[in-house]
Symmetry: C3
Subunit: 137 residues, 3 copies
């Protein structure tokens, strides 16, 4: 069994942002030389998500509106009594998920026609990381 590890770094300009990272994950797979196995892609920070869905600008607006209506940034959170202001981000990240696991087949992401990997930032404007871990042969 072979394994490969790489960190992807991000610093978004706004608090919340949705970044398509599919090409970066594909480059990590090529670097790994692994043909068959599984790829784990996870946020290493607890106010961000990695998820798979469509890269369509209207949909990204729908996600933003849905999450902000359900978990408004300006609402009252116990977590913010620590002096932070990201209580909402810890909840938004749970809804969208921490990680994806993708099948690696014949050296490529084994994807359906519209699957794209996104980094969803809910408390950005600072350097944060995503982990890519690949195991297989």
């Amino acid at each position: 069994m072979k394994s490969y590890r790489e960190e992807l770094w991000f610093q978004t300009e706004s608090r919340r942002e949705y970044v398509n990272i599919t090409a970066q994950v594909e480059r990590a797979i090529q670097q790994s030389g692994i043909q068959e196995g599984m790829v784990l892609v996870n946020a290493m920070h607890i106010t961000a998500s990695v998820y798979i869905n469509d890269d369509e600008v209207g949909l990204l607006q729908d996600y933003e509106r849905f999450l902000e209506q359900l978990v408004p940034h300006s609402a009252d959170y116990q977590h913010n009594r620590t002096g932070e202001d990201n209580g909402d981000a810890h909840i938004k990240r749970q809804i969208m998920g921490r990680e994806v696991v993708v099948a690696l087949t014949k050296g490529a992401l084994d994807f359906g026609p519209w699957e794209q990997i996104f980094y969803a930032e809910f408390d950005g404007r600072r350097r944060k990381r995503v982990l890519v871990k690949i195991i297989g042969e």
Copy 2:
């Protein structure tokens, strides 16, 4: 390390449907001949989920009601300006999840007493796929 790949195909009769696919995943495991490892089961389409929970008819109605109240099909979605009408389905799928990873132990799904694997369709009435990828030995 061995690996195995299989696609399961579905065409639901209604827009939203919850299908127990545990037996199909178990057949894939038998086909693979793998005894110890991990099984990834994921929707290959971005308006459907794979999740694990109880196969109880009332619960499936509760999921349906919860998701439709939170993300109504008939609400206004930016995504639908593309001409599609499935903006809600892209959000419902995020709540229920894209994939499950299940331990494979002694050639079987390593499950608690009530765990069942479901395919949740939120934009059906056309042919769509689920991927089963197994790695191990």
Copy 3:
């Protein structure tokens, strides 16, 4: 490829509880002797979650309030017509997730600075299990 399996058992005193299980997962990794691979940690029961986020008391209260407002225990659920009273718990678990998959690097959880693994119980006061499955080398 090596694999390792361990069950963690819990019996919470209250219906809903959030338990940091990171140290128990770390002990399982040490027992396994595996250095590079992936760790799956999943609830074996369908009214509980395993998730990764911050161990901060205010945040745990925020999760509790968010989930109970969105899916109140005392609301009407079809599932409860079976004689059970945990319809809400089956939905809360879907929002928080069944499982986490964590990279195993150099014999340790490959974590960002604040990542902690939690067992979230939504229908406790009885003995329930979490599965730890590790594969790698």
